[in-house]
């Protein structure tokens, strides 16, 4: 392993000073002269025809500048798989919370007042809320009768087999077929079938969703948004509004938490439409209630799992049927999650006979969207609960059972990808060692203690694109332009560390340019834990390019061949005469314009899957081409206390080991690991968006419980471990793991609860009510 001076070290975060002083600019902090405020009127019904909309009275409210309804905005639709979302509903609403009209006014109060005066007449249609009903071939309701006429998003144009004519509410059916699953069950000694469900949850970023749009003199639009993926979003926006790409500019201030929701395009197009219509800047800030309706929601999953196992613990066959209960529109990401959730079942275990079907379906529930993990956590909850159930039936130690079936380096996984950089076994070893330790807790007589573990992975997707630029000048020093949005994950620090490492300088000598599509090279953005691997590689390549140019120039300056020049610790000098050293920036000064520009493009060929089998071409696989760019691996360990009188579950201590290839900043990795545990505790025990006839019963932080300081174990009861296995294509071997940090936690909790009180909760979250009911229903007495 080469010695590094900056990467691998816990450098102080470059964004910390701004953030502790209140100077960091978030979208909600931006104000523009003459700015109008937007508000959206939302459907109160889960499924209804819009008969008429009368805006006469609303238009008379002083300060109201513009009211738009579905007929006033472009008819084009958007979405990352099937393009099903309109900017504002036309003719039919399919979920409570869907936009029906939008107002721009001089003040929020005026806009609010106008909303109350818009008269919408609806004719209610029969709603359908149950995803299992929706997924069938003869569903009672067809939510998008025109589904088969909708466009597919560009990335699905070619393979385009996501829809099925006999399942009218399915927006994505993803399949994996390997070996012969029926035969696999026949030759098994034990077959175990179970059904698991996960709850609709909220991402709960602390920042509210905001967009601000400034119409420019030349008819172009400048947008700032509290979402990510500024470059791909810009392409969607330009298509929606029929504007050339050059006429849509997206700026990206700090984002106050994402957790999957910010990969959606949200309702930013509404703000754009209002700005275009009024010619004035428009700002739209969600309320917390609107965040619950329109800024995401973890998609509720139903997972059927059937495993065939030999007596010796060999997993011979696995069949999965996964149903994702999306809302009335796929929003942006449900279809994508329906595909990508499958990889949770791909990256960890060796299974010869495998069959998977996952269905993203429409219901008339509020929209749901991508949530940290993009389905990995949900599918892992089923798999890792099942692994413990099977191990018990086999009479095997659950760690041993997992270890026996874990994928090893060089083995094909169930899509035919050749496994590389797999730290699963290392993670499992570390956590299983930790969990053997014993700690004293003072608990009264009603509490029972139990321990549980889980093993998991999270893919980082491919294909993807990342570009970056680094500019070096005498006056400005080193400035880096990269398009990985800072949502709290620390990517600005990681990128600055990479630049500092490459040039041999300190991190504080590197500055990060504000993110703006006007000057930031194309990068697919912050999602899929992809920034370290993709953006990091682009940044490193940009530095390599700049260094080549600097060496050429230094050779000229020193009158020696470039190979005779050394670049080290921010200086260049002839190898034989180190005393002649000059700063890199000085060498750049003698360039025309005094500037050296290094460009980096990271492109990686990937192997697309066959839409019928999910298999990649074996020849391409043998060449090392992959379906996903990398897999982060993780294990979780939890000790809980369960109160047998109340059913309450408390996490006493927890541990995680993570394989991120190489921790570029160990403290930032710890941050992700701890945050992942915290979120996992929330999703495992407390969090559920409650619905009644498509209406959210708890759309606020009073009734929706995310973990506070008091639900997380004490400092000395939390153990963060690393088990990195370098990735050959990652920068310094690194790969992203910010989603893996959370995945597996719910299953570890469920397994711990089982070990404490012998009840198996298969439906998240594991609330006191469910546990108590199960305890009372179980025959054993504790």
């Amino acid at each position: 392993m080469p010695e590094f001076s900056v990467v691998g070290k816990s450098i102080i975060r470059v964004d910390a000073l701004e953030k502790v002083t209140g100077k960091a600019v978030f979208c909600s902090d931006i104000k523009l002269p003459g700015m109008l405020h937007a508000k959206v009127l939302r459907s109160p019904y889960p499924h209804a025809k819009i008969v008429s909309i009368d805006t006469t009275k609303a238009n008379q409210v002083p300060g109201v500048k513009c009211i738009l309804t579905g007929k006033d905005v472009p008819e084009k639709r958007y979405g990352s798989t099937v393009r099903d979302a309109t900017i504002i509903a036309r003719d039919v609403v399919r979920a409570v919370g869907e936009a029906v009209a939008a107002v721009a006014a001089e003040s929020v109060e005026a806009a609010d007042k106008a909303l109350g005066l818009i008269d919408v007449k609806y004719e209610q249609l029969p709603p359908m809320f149950d995803p299992e009903e929706a997924v069938g071939t003869k569903p009672p309701v067809t939510i998008h009768p025109d589904l088969f006429n909708y466009e597919l998003a560009s990335s699905f144009f070619k393979t385009g087999k996501l829809l099925e004519f006999d399942r009218p509410n399915v927006m994505m059916h993803f399949k994996i077929r390997r070996g012969e699953v029926v035969k696999g069950f026949e030759i098994s000694d034990l077959v175990v079938e179970n059904k698991f469900t996960t709850a609709r949850a909220q991402q709960c970023p602390l920042e509210l969703q905001v967009s601000i749009v400034q119409p420019e003199a030349d008819g172009s639009l400048t947008l700032w948004m509290s979402s990510t993926m500024m470059h791909p979003a810009r392409m969607d926006f330009s298509r929606l509004f029929d504007l050339p790409l050059s006429k849509v500019r997206v700026g990206q201030p700090y984002v106050g938490g994402s957790f999957g929701r910010s990969a959606s395009r949200g309702e930013h197009p509404i703000t754009m439409a209002l700005a275009l219509k009024t010619g004035r800047p428009v700002k739209h800030v969600y309320t917390r209630e609107e965040m619950f309706y329109r800024a995401g929601n973890r998609i509720p999953f139903t997972v059927y799992i059937k495993d065939g196992i030999k007596k010796d613990g060999t997993l011979v066959a696995r069949e999965l049927k996964i149903i994702l209960g999306g809302g009335g529109i796929g929003e942006f990401t449900v279809g994508l999650v329906a595909k990508n959730c499958a990889f949770a079942a791909v990256g960890t275990y060796r299974i010869t006979n495998f069959k998977l079907d996952s269905y993203g379906v429409y219901t008339n529930n509020p929209v749901a969207a991508g949530f940290r993990g993009f389905g990995s956590g949900e599918v892992t909850f089923a798999i890792e609960s099942q692994m413990d159930i099977v191990a018990e039936k086999l009479g095997m130690d659950p760690v041993e059972f997992r270890r026996k079936n874990i994928l090893r380096e060089g083995e094909p996984n169930v899509t035919g990808e050749i496994t590389h950089s797999t730290g699963g076994a290392g993670c499992l070893n570390k956590v299983s060692e930790w969990i053997k330790s014993d700690e004293k807790f003072s608990l009264d007589g009603a509490w029972r203690r139990g321990k549980g573990i889980a093993l998991a992975n999270k893919y980082t997707l491919a294909p993807s694109t990342a570009s970056a630029r680094v500019e070096v000048t005498k006056e400005e020093g080193i400035v880096i332009y990269h398009g990985a949005e800072e949502v709290g994950q620390g990517c600005d620090t990681i990128m600055a560390q990479i630049v500092a490492e490459e040039f041999g300088v300190q991190v504080d000598e590197v500055r990060t340019a504000p993110k703006d599509t006007l000057h930031t090279p194309f990068d697919s953005g912050a999602y899929s834990s992809r920034q370290t691997y993709w953006s990091g590689n682009a940044v490193r390549l940009a530095c390599v390019d700049a260094k080549e140019k600097i060496l050429d120039k230094a050779g000229e300056i020193f009158g020696v061949h470039r190979d005779e020049v050394e670049l080290k610790e921010g200086f260049v000098y002839p190898k034989r005469v180190p005393d002649k050293k000059i700063r890199i920036a000085e060498a750049c000064d003698s360039f025309i314009g005094g500037r050296i520009v290094g460009n980096g493009n990271f492109v990686q060929e990937f192997a697309a899957e066959d839409p019928e089998t999910g298999q990649i071409d074996p020849e391409l696989a043998a060449e090392g081409k992959r379906l996903n760019s990398s897999y982060a691996h993780t294990a979780k360990g939890v000790e809980v206390a369960v109160n047998i009188e109340t059913g309450e579950v408390k996490v006493l201590r927890c541990a995680t080991a993570n394989d991120m290839g190489f921790p570029i900043n160990p403290k930032i990795c710890e941050q992700q690991a701890e945050g992942g545990l915290g979120m996992g505790i929330g999703l495992g025990i407390y969090e559920e968006v409650l619905l009644k006839e498509g209406v959210i019963m708890n759309p606020n932080f009073t009734d929706y419980r995310m973990p506070t300081f008091c639900e997380f174990p004490e400092l000395d009861k939390v153990k963060i471990m690393f088990a990195p296995v370098p990735h050959k294509d990652g920068p310094y071997g690194a790969k992203g793991f910010s989603e893996a940090a959370m995945v597996g936690m719910e299953a570890a909790i469920a397994n711990a609860v089982y070990s404490a009180v012998g009840v198996r909760i298969k439906d998240l979250p594991i609330t006191a009510e469910k546990v108590l009911k199960a305890i009372k229903g179980s025959k054993e007495i504790y």
């Binding site: 910390a16 002083t21 960091a24 909600s28 941050q671 915290g678 400092l715």
Partner: protein, 159 residues
């Protein structure tokens, strides 16, 4: 009916023309441009808007500005010392990696400041209990607790 009120903000008395229904958070952010104070829920649950009112931590989204007439308010912008030096809590949050997305950070630091002024030597349990009105979705709270505990001593010597 609009009214002119005086607020002593970060040591400076300001006259502000307000509407009686405006919250303190609104006045700070929208009228006085002190956007370090964040708004996350407008229901007093998340603590992102916490400032000190006469030394006590308050959710400024729930408090009507008119109720603060003549009172002393400290926001995140008022935390730096006269010499421009960071407050020990700010330093500790940086050094202990207690900052991620940063949206909860100003409210978290203000709540912690009020806590350290009220309980001079809090233990871990005190910190958890007293800060439980501040939500953070990024961190799992570990490093925030560490930072607050680390700032205890330094805060004492400073005051």
């Amino acid at each position: 009916m609009s009214q002119l009120i005086k607020l002593k903000i970060n040591g400076v008395t300001k006259e502000v023309l307000i509407e009686p229904w405006w919250s303190l958070a609104y006045v700070l952010r929208e009228v006085l441009n002190l956007s370090g104070t964040k708004v996350g829920c407008e229901s007093g649950n998340c603590g992102a808007c916490i400032v000190q009112l006469e030394g006590k931590a308050v959710n400024s989204c729930l408090l009507l500005a008119v109720k603060c007439k003549g009172k002393e308010i400290t926001t995140i912008e008022g935390l730096k010392g006269k010499d421009g030096e960071l407050h020990p809590l700010q330093k500790a949050f940086i050094e202990h990696f207690a900052v991620q997305c940063g949206y909860c950070t100003p409210g978290m630091i203000m709540a912690a400041k009020a806590l350290l002024e009220e309980i001079p030597h809090p233990d871990e349990e005190d910190v958890r209990r007293e800060l439980s009105g501040n939500l953070c979705r990024c961190t799992g709270y570990v490093k925030i607790v560490e930072a607050v505990l680390a700032a205890r001593e330094a805060t004492k010597t400073r005051s």
